[in-house]
Amino acid sequence: MTDSEMTDSENDDNSENDDNCENDTSVPPHERRRPWWHWRRLTGSRPRLAVTTGVIGVVAGALLGGAGVAWQAEAGPFADDRACWGTFSQDDAAALFDGKFGGNADVKSSEVPITSDRIGAEGSSGQCLLTSDGSRITVQAHQLDTRFGGSGDQWADGFLSARLTPLGGGLLGMASDTRAWLAVPDGCIGRPRDADVTGGPTVIDLKTGWTVYDDEVDIKARDQLARAVVKLVNHYMAGKGCTGTIADPTGRMPQPPRFLDEKKDAMCGVKGLPLSHADARSTLGRTLVTRGAGPVRTCDRRVLFDHPELRLMTVEDPRLAVLYARLSENGTQKPVKAGAHDGYGFVRDDMGLFQAQCQTGPVTFLIRADSGRHPADIRTLLPRYVAAEADRIGCGPLHITLPAAG
């Protein structure tokens, strides 16, 4: 490199009025009239071109890098307005209301972040509310309460209803066209710490505010909610640093349940369960049974405004059966008798329950009426229901004896 070139390139960074410039042959006189930032001056000579290209390159690189960082951190123009703890984009949220409005809904959201109390005794909880034109969807994250009479039972009423179909594939979750829920898989948070085995699972559930008067569950809306709840749990797991992504379950989910034509000796489709005369003649409401293998098999009879007059339910998944563990041990003065180590249970005027110790873990067999008006029916049904269902799920033979009535 010659001296003149050195000076030249240095001068580029200096003031244009520098005296040396006058002698600089690489800047022709006609260019000196142009301001220093003119592209011709900036690129006029090779060394200047090099410096200019370099500077532009660095600036462009820095801008790109900065933008990339902003995008990753979801800051600045890339700021996130995703609903429900960052899970749903505007389009995702609008799609949830699609079934109702058929178009692009304008969705507003508000939320309480998912947090846990300091000692973690109550597990994590949070809530997210999506509203669109007066309709709402409530999303909740919470650890299911194992105390009976607490939210565990209220929750079971709505979310273990026979209208819901299991998500399948070993997932602890279900969905219908108005509700969906899914538990965070074991190994991510909470369970399987030994101390937590007796605690309920942490679930995210989703409830629409509208009531469907149709008999049949709308498959498209159900699949929509199933995907939404999977998305919520995946997002939650990623935030907790848990690896693994739950795949879209809708491909393997069975058809939603249809009303069952019960035979005289097979109430709820369970062979050996007699249908009383009153039941057989009744035309009020009809019977719905869960379809497909999953955490529960629920039979709801005569459902009015979301409440069955009679529910027969088998909770096969041990993660969910813990909800009934405390109740089975201390819920009554009238325990039922069973083989040693087989389990605990009781019968009441409005309810019969047996918590069995199966090879898979605890399994709950439950019969519940909305009133205490038919205690004899519950007494007739419970032993037969436990025996038949235990056989079906591979927990048989299981025979229980009821305490004397009265």
Binding site: R46, P47, L49, A50, T53, G54, V55, I56, G57, V58, A60, G61, A62, L64, G65, G68, G170, P185, D186, G187, C188, R191, P192, D194, V197, M237, C242, T243, G244, T245, I246, A247, P318, R319, G339, H341, D342, Q357, C358, Q359, T360, G361, D391, G394, C395, G396, P397
Partner: protein, 366 residues
């Protein structure tokens, strides 16, 4: 001559610009510690990388002066259906009382068919599928727990005599004090991480062996962890009717493994010393079941048994049809005490659970 200079200079200029852009981009990747500025080591035929997650692969594990990570490997090849790789960590520190403590960790991956000798094969199967191992998700025929894992490879990797090839991952960790040795944590990062390490090693090994499937195997779904621990206070083992151990149970503990349609295990050990009382295992998953092929005998193991089986000194195995799938039940137990009744009880209980006719004599149908 001038023309030539011009060309060269123009090129230099362009190169200068390009270099500047690269430097800027490079600064970004360097700052975020990403490729290609990592200079990381790889292990197990390139399947694992330093600092890719689990502790035993982290840079911190070998940060101290007296710490080192070494590895050895033999890759499988189209003509050689066996491979092994080992990653070993070794470090020395001074304990609080001034003594020397040596920490040793070893993680080993083996690629190859199940052992040929029946006794060794049963021990190998029971050791990997039993105890706390949980099935892998996404239909992968394998298991993992926090310390080890096994994956049966696709049929394309079967040996010429039809035995399936498997990849296993095993680990040991110990702290050696001047007067004692304590078991330690190998730092594999839990069963989720073990499953990923296992599948990554399997994919690379299959490439080397020339039997890789079109699409690499992958763990996408969460890997479940066993929710329950050892139970020491009991009379009925593993919640199985008939496995009431009476007074013997006082010195024993049981561990229920997975209880699914594909796999079930129950291990009963001595509370002191962890010695084996019996380890029982049921397999119906077809590829896992294939590991037993050729080792389950050709006739009933004893009078009144259905299917075929072998009652040997250290193990008992039986295989019978169960709704169109072979159901294989294995019990590993030292021959110190009579275990045939336990084996019969376990076999019939699990057969009944999955909806099959009794296999052992004396069982009742549903």
């Amino acid at each position: 001559m001038k023309q030539l200079m011009d060309g060269a200079r123009r090129r230099a200029v362009l190169v200068g610009g390009a270099v500047a852009v690269l430097v800027a981009a490079g600064l970004g990747t360097w700052a975020t510690d990403t490729w290609p500025f990592d200079g990381k080591d790889t292990y197990c035929w390139g399947a694992w990388k330093e600092d890719s997650g689990p502790d035993f692969l982290s840079g911190e594990a070998v940060d101290e002066d007296n710490a080192s990570r070494t590895s050895e490997e033999t890759a499988p090849a189209p003509g050689r259906q066996r491979g092994r790789c080992t990653v070993a960590l070794h470090s020395e520190r001074t304990s609080s009382d001034g003594g020397k403590v040596v920490e040793k960790t070893e993680v080993t991956v083996d690629y190859g068919p199940a052992p040929e000798s029946a006794a060794r094969r049963m021990e190998w199967i029971g050791g990997h599928l039993g105890d706390r191992a949980m099935p892998l998700p996404d239909g992968l025929p394998g298991v993992s727990d926090g310390r080890s894992g096994l994956l049966v490879l696709p049929k394309g990797c079967d040996t010429r005599d039809g035995r399936p090839t498997a990849v296993t991952l095993d680990s040991t960790a110990e702290s050696v004090y001047s007067d004692s040795t304590m078991p330690g944590d190998a730092g594999l990062g839990g069963s989720q991480s073990v499953a990923r390490l296992l599948v990554a090693a399997a994919n690379r090994a299959m490439e080397k062996a020339g039997c890789a499937p079109d699409k690499p195997l992958e763990v996408v779904s969460p890997v479940l962890t066993l929710p329950e621990g050892r139970e020491t206070f009991f009379t009925r083992a593993c919640r199985i009717k008939g496995l009431e151990l009476g007074k013997e149970a006082e010195d024993l503990a049981y561990q229920v493994g997975p209880v699914t349609r594909d796999l079930q295990s129950c291990s009963v050990r001595q509370t002191r010393g962890d010695g084996r009382y019996f380890d029982a295992l049921m397999v119906t998953q077809p590829r896992l079941s294939a590991l037993f092929d050729g080792a389950t005998g050709s006739k009933a193991p004893a009078r009144g048994w259905r299917g075929t089986g072998v009652f040997a000194d250290t193990y008992k195995v039986v295989r019978a049809d169960c709704a169109g799938r072979p159901l294989t039940v294995l019990m590993l137990a030292p021959s110190l005490h009579e275990t045939t009744p336990y084996f019969a009880t376990f076999t019939n209980a699990v057969a009944r659970r999955v909806g099959c006719a009794p296999v052992a004599p004396g069982g009742s149908d549903r």
